[in-house]
Symmetry: C2
Subunit: 246 residues, 2 copies
DNA sequence: CGAAGGCGAATGTTCTGACATTAAGTCTTT
DNA sequence: AAAGACTTAATGTCAGAACATTCGCCTTCG
């Protein structure tokens, strides 16, 4: 069977060949050219069709398998994994999530300061004693409805920050522009009931359910960049993720 | 610098060479032989030290980078990522989590039936109309204290299930023994307040905070194996995870 | 007629070799 | 002394080849 998934390779492009293949096959799957459950040609044929070596083809398919789009079976072949597997689990901020979904979030900065960090924050961010950090709390609304109450601490040797920038942009966008390449995040998700302050800020009742999240993010040099404690209205937000067994 | 991480390779072993290297370096990191932040020898030297080719060495390091233990920088070298990065995000059940932490959970099966699935379950598990599934609810306790209330639906063409087995073992262990190789899980984590029934079962107050989780798991053949809706006492449980940017 | 063995096809593993790209330090030149 | 160019060292990419392992099907033998 000549799969003939209409993808072409540009050898003069700076983007690696295997990654071009990844993008091509991803596009073919999401656009429906490759149907869920269908079998692909074998690695050697595919490599030949695209004038690539088998290791290159294999590396591309490796990535697709790891991301859960393909399933390989020894002695059998490779299939497109059935069904609509949605967003893979990745580092993203609430702000990204919302804008990607076409919503228009607004941010209100409730407090902003540049202060000496206390011991707990120093330990979490692995900073030497006496270090200063940015500390701020924000309220995020979507369509005028409050959604999240967020408190964050950010090390101050990355980029200048001020209240105006935080109002206009998401935290992660600001940090990325400051040259941070995020690598890891450790997070913990739980639940609590709203206290009086939280209830009033989120315009919900005292005692209503909230989703809590604590997160600490690390960049590619191993620096702890940011830590925060967020609470979300449980009736408006939940965490969706896809776990991939490796 | 001769790193000399005391790992040896067994070429007669059936476990692939690159995986032996992965395990060896993992062990060196967790045991402290390789300290956080320390630099490794370059790929070519390491390969030579172990009498391996560079691609094999590279594949091993690839996996360690992906799992967040190492950080590579072009033109510079490879470092052990600083600090105590905990559990990587992986498919695991509450039962596994608890037993791995030395706790002794007990399970009480509240209801168990083998019934025709309703439309919602049929759609979620992608089963043809009229299919039967196992449906059960369980209460999990640790040290006599109730922790989770779980309701699950499992396709019935995998393995025989009964109330006794469920009482003695975790659901995932049973399914794995039935030949299921889990690949993906889609889950959603949120929060709610306890209703009267939940409060009484979990021995907490009505209106107290609960963590909710809905999960659907898929095996390596693309079959939807299981779906469930769980609630946890927020004061006793939260989800901890490490996200890795790829 | 059924079960065991054999065969082909696919993925899994490993090697050798080569060149490209990036980052950092060093050396030269102005 | 500072700015630029060069060198070096590391990771990043790609090719081609060989052999191993597993699965499913087909044939053959009891």
């Amino acid at each position: 069977m000549a799969n003939n998934l209409g993808l072409s390779i540009d050898r003069s492009s700076p983007v690696p060949l295997y990654h071009q293949v990844v993008q091509g096959i991803e596009a073919a799957i999401y656009s429906g050219v490759l149907e869920p459950g269908s079998r692909l040609d074998n690695e050697i044929d595919l490599a030949a069709q695209l004038n690539l070596s088998r290791p290159t083809m294999r590396k591309a398919m490796d990535e697709l398998v790891r991301s859960g789009l393909l399933v390989r079976k020894r002695g059998v072949g490779t299939q497109v994994v059935s069904s609509q597997v949605r967003r893979p689990l990745e580092l993203s901020s609430l702000y990204d999530d919302l804008t990607n979904n076409g919503k228009k979030p607004t941010t209100e900065v409730l407090s902003f300061s540049h202060i000496e960090a206390d011991d707990a924050i120093l330990a979490t961010l692995q900073l030497p004693a006496g270090s200063k950090v940015y500390h701020f709390t924000r309220l995020r609304k979507v369509g005028g409805k409050p959604l999240a109450l967020m408190e964050n601490w950010v090390r101050d040797d990355i980029t200048e920050m001020d209240q105006a920038t935080l109002t206009a942009e998401g935290l992660y966008a600001i940090l990325r522009r400051g040259g941070v390449n995020f690598r890891l995040a450790n997070q913990r998700i739980g639940a609590m009931t709203a206290n009086e302050y939280q209830a009033s800020m989120l315009e919900t009742g005292e005692g209503s359910a909230l989703v809590t999240m604590e997160r600490t993010a690390t960049d590619d040099t191993g620096r702890r960049v940011e830590t925060g404690h967020h609470v979300y209205r449980a009736d408006s937000y939940s965490f969706e993720m896809t776990l991939v067994q490796r």
